[in-house]
Amino acid sequence: MSAGAKSRVNDFVIRVANVNGTGSASANSLLMKTIFRMGVPVTGKNFFPSNIQGLPTWYEIRVTKDAYLARSGDVDVMVAMNAQTYEKDLNRVTPGGVLIYDSTWPRDRMLSRSDITILGIPLARMCNEHFSNARARILMKNMAYVGALAALLDLDMDVIRNLVEETFAAKAKLVPANMEAIELGANYAREHYDCPLAMRVEKLDKTAGHIMIDGNTAAGLGCVYAGATVGAWYPITPSTSVMDGFKGFCERLRVDKETGERDYCIIQAEDELAAIGIVLGATWNGARAFTPTSGPGISLMSEFLGFGYFAELPAVVFDVQRVGPSTGMPTRTQQADILAAAYASHGDTRHVLLFPSEPKECFELAVTAFDLADRLQTPVIVLLDLDIGMNDWMCEELTWDDAYRIDRGKVLDAKALESVENFYRYLDSDGDGIPYRTYPGVHPKGAYFVRGSGHNEYGKYTEESSEYRDLVERLNRKFATAAKLVPKPVIQRSKHKTDTAIVSVGSSDYAVREAIDRLAATGVHLNYMRIKAFPFSDEVAAFLHEHDRVFVAEQNRDAQLKSLLTLETDYPKERMQSILHYGGLPMHSRSVIEGIEQLAARGEAA
């Protein structure tokens, strides 16, 4: 084996091509979890179609000793289980890579490549011979390729067994069959090919203290810890699992053992307009409430979001972004709702945004979102995307500080109301643009009238220009306060002095970080800022001004983050350049590197 090849230990990408609805999901996560438990950092990306059964689906697992959790852009080991896409999958393999196919059926001689290794394994035949039940034969084929990979990649069989036992803890009788299938694949591989391959997995200790979880589940858990009690939603991919997560945790943690009574109320709304309406009604009435949705939902919620901004009601919205415009590609990822969310609704409206970059932040920023919404009395939109939301990411274990107390903001309770002369809902008594609110029914003095029409600081209806101006100018002051309260950007400075920086947001983070490292190796040094929230805290503009040139990397066509920076900071727009990745599959480090190299080249030219 060449030295080059050697260096591929714990550093390569597996892609499994399959058909959806054939139960490959569990096989793939078994594969990934095994590597994770062997202490080797790993990440998995699921590329699935927008239907339920029978269409091509791919699962990509990156084994990355350096914990580069983005896609690399390569495919080193392809498991081609789908005849339909065989040719495409074959061509996708990076030179020097390996392709494994089901040799039960002879493959088209025309379809071959000399620059990769092609290994046939008669998965279907072995399973058909070994298993009688039809459904089992289909499912076990997947376990069989796990076995084959176990042998070829030198995976730890005990780890696999433990995982299989955990997975089928409920139906233990399924364990043997699954293990047999795995053995079938493993044995065949060992007998016919010299295992392991150059690309293989060696135990490390780099995953301790970490978990593998998807961002939607983590966000749902965050809502539980934030004390949210009302969740309203209308199902939409890829946001559905946020509510599934919340529901699951609530059923475990919020149901009275005796009475079966629930400390939460989840309402499946008739549509997104109703979902956000329910949230606003609930927060007005003193509960913490949220709704998860996706692009089309944001469009439908925009009238109500403007109401929330103008009438000053808290609300937490999770927008798990998918490919737009319109219905777009519901099972593909993008970061293209940034502007729609920031300025949702007609009139002079603006909203507070949070941008988690991985599951742990989904958990943490979920909590932050509720605090900010209550403190600022305005909707807060948490922008995830399909990649963060639905893929399993390796991240640090979630932690909780029991000393933490939630911030319900400026709320006058019965006692406080007792002591005040009069209560005026929209009076800016503290100069921070944030008035005091009350919960209905708490105290006679607390009564006020919420409306989306013109109102003055006493909460009375008005059509007076001056009172209207006072109101919207105070809302601006409040937004300035928001800029002070939101999470600051994450800044990473190069060891070398540099006048060039790169900025990104959300799930683009890992791809950018890897690109920065690799470029550094080539002598290109970049400082880095990841935006975590809008409105931008002072640090954002300050960082930009430190640099003559700033690359903005994001996953949309229209440079939406760059647009927001252009509008909402005083940094000259001429000095910002875009690196855009918007095909719907998660951004990989190579696209960032190539983007920067091209721009740099042009830069020199200019």
Binding site: G227, E270, G277, L280, G281
Partner: protein, 351 residues
């Protein structure tokens, strides 16, 4: 007038209710509606009803959408919380409000445009959830605030002020609610305070979604000849299916009735509705029969009013969701947050 003993007059003028409050304490801001607008009479009936129910104003949440009708919450119960939402979307806001705090009385006021056009989807699903609220539609057959276009409740053949004749069949909120499983369905007329006040009381006390569709003429855009929603037309054709009284819990029924003449309906809190002079062919607990009865009179051009259907047995939204009896908004955070230990346990399966 009702059969229950009226609160006695205290020395020094105004009548006071059990809370020692006078009707003034239940009034609101000055109405900015047109002089003679039916909606103002409904406002008066609401004030009367809640005053007589001895409900502390701040325990009532007034919900509405957009329209002349939806403005009225500003004209009653100034001491209550009010929520003037966006057009046609009040039911969802009320749903959230109910979810957050099951302890408040939710009183919704909407219009035929607000509820049957832009809002029909939310209206339908609030009925389906049996949301615990009193939902009043001030029905005038037009969009008043936007100057008189036909609404979805306009009758075939009814003429607009500018002369246009409506051709499309009307959507009847009452029959719609019946079909969707509504548990309290009533119709009344803004000009019939005797009937309206006890109906509103019962609607507020009903545990579930209580629809009161009130014919409430628009004097400015739909009170002319050839309008089927004018005062004149409604007065002529509305048909009381029954007289009714509301009797609060505790209170025993004073007047003596002959057998059969009165039909009492018991509400959750022990209060009762007494249906009197109810046409014998009418059964207020039978959905199908009620629909037939209404349709039959409709064919005769009559508008049946009264409590048309009631079912106290169905669970409301909280019942369906098995939420705790403590208002969710009042559960202390400590009870809601599982804490660090649980968190680390929870993560086992993700390791």
């Amino acid at each position: 007038m009702t059969y229950i003993a009226k609160p006695k007059i205290l020395h020094g003028g105004l009548e006071r209710n059990a809370l020692g409050l006078t009707i003034r304490d239940y009034e609101g801001g000055m109405s900015t509606l047109c002089a003679g607008c039916g909606h103002d009479s409904v406002t008066a009936a609401i004030v009367q009803a809640i005053f007589e129910l001895d409900i502390p104003p701040h325990r009532v949440a007034k919900m509405s959408g957009i329209g002349c009708s939806s403005k009225t919450p500003a004209y009653f119960l100034s001491a209550s919380h009010g929520f003037n939402s966006v057009h046609g979307r009040m039911p969802s806001v009320a749903t959230g409000a109910a979810a957050a705090n099951c302890g408040l009385y939710l009183l919704g006021v909407s219009g035929d445009g607000d509820s049957l056009s832009i809002g029909i989807g939310q209206f339908a699903h609030a009925v389906r959830r049996n949301l615990d609220m009193c939902y009043i539609i001030e029905n005038n057959g037009v969009y008043g605030l936007t100057k008189g276009q036909f609404s979805a409740s306009a009758d075939v053949g009814s003429k607009a002020k500018k002369g246009e004749v409506n051709q499309q069949p009307p959507i009847d909120a009452v029959q719609l609610a019946m079909t969707l499983g509504g548990t309290f369905v009533a119709r009344s007329f803004s000009g019939d305070k005797d009937q309206l006040v006890p109906l509103i009381k019962a609607a507020i006390k009903h545990e579930g979604f209580a629809l009161v569709d009130v014919l409430s003429p628009c004097v400015t855009f739909n009170d002319h000849e050839d309008s089927t929603k004018s005062y004149a037309y409604t007065r002529q054709f509305f048909h009381r299916a029954m007289h009714l009284d509301y009797v609060p819990p505790a209170e025993e029924i004073k007047a003596a009735y002959d057998e059969g003449e009165v039909m009492p309906v018991q509400l959750h809190d022990g209060s009762r509705i007494l249906l009197r002079k109810i046409s014998e062919d009418y059964n207020v607990n039978n959905r199908g029969a009620a629909i037939d009865y209404i349709r039959a009179h409709q064919r005769k051009g009559e508008i049946v009013t009264g409590l048309l259907y009631i079912d106290e047995s169905e669970p409301d939204m909280h019942g369906l969701n098995r939420t705790t009896l403590t208002p969710l908004s009042e559960i202390p955070y400590e009870r809601l947050c599982p804490g660090s230990e649980t968190l680390s346990k929870l993560q086992k399966r993700y390791r």
